[in-house]
């Protein structure tokens, strides 16, 4: 999600941070958001699941990487990606007791800054599902015991791996309260904590889980991405395996706003992106979730869809995109917005293209091609 500052009618330069299956790239844009200079590849050959800037200093970069051969780790740059240092203690589960089967982190999937009042605190979500916290800017990481050793053992019967393994992919912090957290697991569901992760409560009522035998299950659902509006933190959205949902807290019952999507397109997808200033506005990128779940653009015709009324209606936004035979999709961390006015949108495809819009999705242009499979795209003020 975007962290650059902007005032109405004037846009700052933007840097796109791109994580791919074969390394990381930085695309440095100018204030028009039309001219881009590539910086990279960084860590060529590494699987980079996530590359993000610290919104609290606008400068520090954190990157989650592994290679085909080597285990997962986190790298940090304090100089805009010119130099990198590896975490001294990457995210890792506690050592198992004798007779206990221990878990090992296979991939660090998601990196999330903690509250603005906690400048050195970060969270990391992993595959298999695990939650980790760093209190020193990403140099050393500790397990969040309340999830890894308390909640997980209780829910593991319904934590199932998807094609990329079971992921803890969304970690959201309430901007009003550093201890109030939401997380989402695919597959596993959404959970809420009021005590900085010491204890958790399922938050899945109203969400379909058509793959579970128990239709009223408390957890075991499949959120693909969870989003919280920064200016209206009681408004949550999720793109789920079973549709698009919205929740207004303190309510606990999600509403399937994806019902208003065109039937022939459906409301399945990975990402959901929120307008930085308008909690009623969000974008999704539908994919084919029929039969064997091809997970490509429905009919080979990619499009974003936007709501401006909290999900009551959706508009197709495909001007500039291929009109046929484009069999790619957009992964859950590969669609983002900047904070410009109008908002700039950016997504990366499974076929290695970066697309952008400077008019909130009305028109799109291809910014880059021939990159590896793109896992994450995030936008930052010029880094």
């Amino acid at each position: 999600m975007m962290q650059s500052s902007s005032r109405s009618g004037r846009n700052d330069a933007v840097t796109l941070l791109i994580g791919t299956r074969k390394g990381a790239f930085l695309y440095r844009g100018d204030a028009t958001r039309r001219g881009w200079q590539v910086d990279g590849p960084h860590f060529l050959g590494s699987i980079v699941n996530h590359l993000v800037v610290d919104p609290r200093d606008g400068r520090t970069l954190l990157l989650a990487a592994k290679t085909g051969h080597l285990g997962p780790t986190v790298f940090r740059s304090l100089d805009g990606g010119r130099t990198w240092a590896e975490a001294r203690q990457p995210p890792a589960f506690r050592k198992a007791e004798t007779g206990e089967t221990g878990r090992a982190v296979d991939a660090v999937f998601s990196l999330s800054p903690a509250h603005a009042s906690q400048p050195d605190v970060w969270y990391a979500g992993t595959a298999p599902v695990g939650l980790f916290r760093s209190c020193d800017g990403g140099v050393t990481w500790e397990p969040v015991t309340g999830f890894n050793d308390v909640l997980y053992p209780r829910i593991q019967d319904k934590v199932n791996p998807g094609p990329d393994g079971a992921l803890l992919h969304s970690i959201l912090v309430d901007p009003r309260d550093a201890r109030h957290l939401y997380i989402a697991l695919s597959v596993g569901g959404v959970f809420e904590s009021a005590d900085a992760g010491a204890s958790w409560t399922p938050l899945n009522r109203g969400v379909e889980a058509n793959f579970l035998p128990d239709k009223d299950a408390e957890y075991g659902h499949d959120p693909h991405l969870l989003a919280l509006h920064p200016l209206k933190p009681d408004r949550l959205y999720q793109q789920n395996h079973c549709g698009i949902y919205r929740l207004d807290r303190p309510g606990v019952e999600w509403r399937r706003i994806g019902r208003a999507m065109p039937t022939e397109v459906g409301d399945i997808g990975f990402p959901i992106v929120l307008h930085p200033r308008d909690a009623e506005c969000a974008w999704v990128f539908p994919m084919d979730g029929t039969e064997v779940w091809p997970r490509v653009s429905p009919g080979g015709r990619p499009a974003a869809y936007r709501t401006r009324d909290g999900g009551a209606s959706w508009q197709r936004l495909d001007r500039g995109m291929p009109s046929e035979h484009a069999w790619w999709t957009v992964k859950r961390q590969a669609f983002c917005a900047d904070s410009g006015d109008p908002v700039g949108l950016y997504f990366g495809t499974t076929s290695g293209e970066i697309w952008g819009s400077t008019d909130e999705g009305e028109t799109w242009s291809r910014l880059a091609a021939h990159l590896p499979h793109i896992y994450s795209v995030s936008a930052a003020a010029s880094v």
Partner: protein, 86 residues
Amino acid sequence: MRVVIPSPLFSYTSGQKEVEAIGSSLAQLLASLDARYPGMRHRMIDEQDRIRPHIRLFVNGEGVSNLQRRLAPTDEVVIVAALSGG
């Protein structure tokens, strides 16, 4: 003893293909390597002390999965990073 390093770990050894290290067991050898090249062990061995799926360790040409395997100063340890596919 002589330790042969695979190319995915060259970033830790500044490109050295072979290094000298000490240890009376494989576990001690890996600890010694990690002290000299911080972070290297975690990339090869997970937090449960299991060798990662695409790493193989050989002592004098014999594949070894037990980190408690004893070592002599004249032994040769070869670390292999083995992976197929794109």
